[in-house]
Symmetry: C2
Subunit: 196 residues, 2 copies
């Protein structure tokens, strides 16, 4: 029985997190009230506080959730047998960007400047992403470009840093300008390949 109960509880938590996410996209993490979240989720304040200790806990859960989704997407691309090129990874990642997720990411960056818990989540996420890029690039350099292992490592680190920058800039565009189908593939490809 505990297993089923626990799963149900997790489901409720997720229901609350997704409702909160929609509220945050609409009103911002700080301005969105618990009352907004109750209305959006169809639950009551009492129910919500049975699953989260405070509104700050909900904010943390939403940020963690969005970051985890991003990392999963990226990891999926990087884990194929034939490592994709940096350009391919970036094009896929950009095409898979949800503007709402991008907005949550920007809000999280802002929160991270003053909230230690969010700061920790965001920074460790950036590190994780850089690492995924790095590992993927290293494999690609060795297997597709014929690099020696020794030379591939430092080169991959450099490229990964750059991919993080390009990706972050893309998130800003996606969040503030909407999804410009103007995902200018040509420009993106040009830029990424110049550094690869």
């Amino acid at each position: 029985m505990p297993r089923l109960t626990e799963a149900r509880s997790q489901l409720r938590r997720d229901q609350i997190v997704q409702a909160a996410r929609r509220c945050f996209v609409r009103n911002g993490m700080e301005r969105a009230s618990v009352a907004d979240i109750t209305a959006e989720s169809g639950l009551s304040a009492g129910s919500i506080y049975a699953h989260f200790g405070s509104k700050a806990d909900i904010v943390r859960a939403v940020v963690q959730d969005v970051m985890d989704r991003r990392a999963l997407t990226l990891a999926a691309y990087a884990s194929g047998v034939r490592p994709p090129s940096p350009t391919q990874v970036m094009v896929l990642l950009v095409a898979a960007t949800d503007p709402d997720e991008a907005r949550i990411a920007l809000q999280a960056w802002g929160e991270a400047t003053t909230d230690p818990a969010i700061h920790e989540i965001v920074v460790s996420m950036i590190d994780r992403m850089r690492d995924l890029f790095r590992v993927g690039c290293e494999a690609w350099l060795v297997e597709a470009k014929g690099y020696e292992r020794a030379a591939a490592g430092p080169r991959a680190t450099r490229i990964a840093d750059h991919l993080v920058a390009v990706y972050q800039a893309h998130l800003i565009r996606a969040a503030l300008l909407g999804a410009p189908d103007a995902v200018d593939d040509a420009a993106l490809t040009d830029v990424v390949e110049a550094i690869s």
Copy 2:
């Protein structure tokens, strides 16, 4: 007399804006209260509301102020007779970055996702910056690299987009990791020159 009075009023406004900026760096734009700003500025609530119509007005003024400072710094570099290379501009800009200003910038990005007034300020600032980069790059391509005018334009646009990305990524690092004297000039130079 109106001139002197107006100047004094502007001084008070600036005093409030700078105090508010410090509060925002400490507590975030939303969490910082008007009471915090009165305490930090040494003024009273009544006085502050004589100069600003609402707290939202103060937030807008702070964001505008920080953005204007950045644009001024960049314009100063770009306006020399001998146009600097993209790498030089970026190195100077990065070296001149104040972590507190970077934090305000990140908070402004987050706010821009839900507040139309902030959105307008942020987006137009990004456009202005891109344009300054573009004009500077074009001059540099023509005068230092021997490009034809016709070829320099599109190339400069491409480089400018990239400089914006690199700069935004730098702001994120500066805001969240502090000023890493690890302004890794080598990495920066490498990346910017690859695309130049």
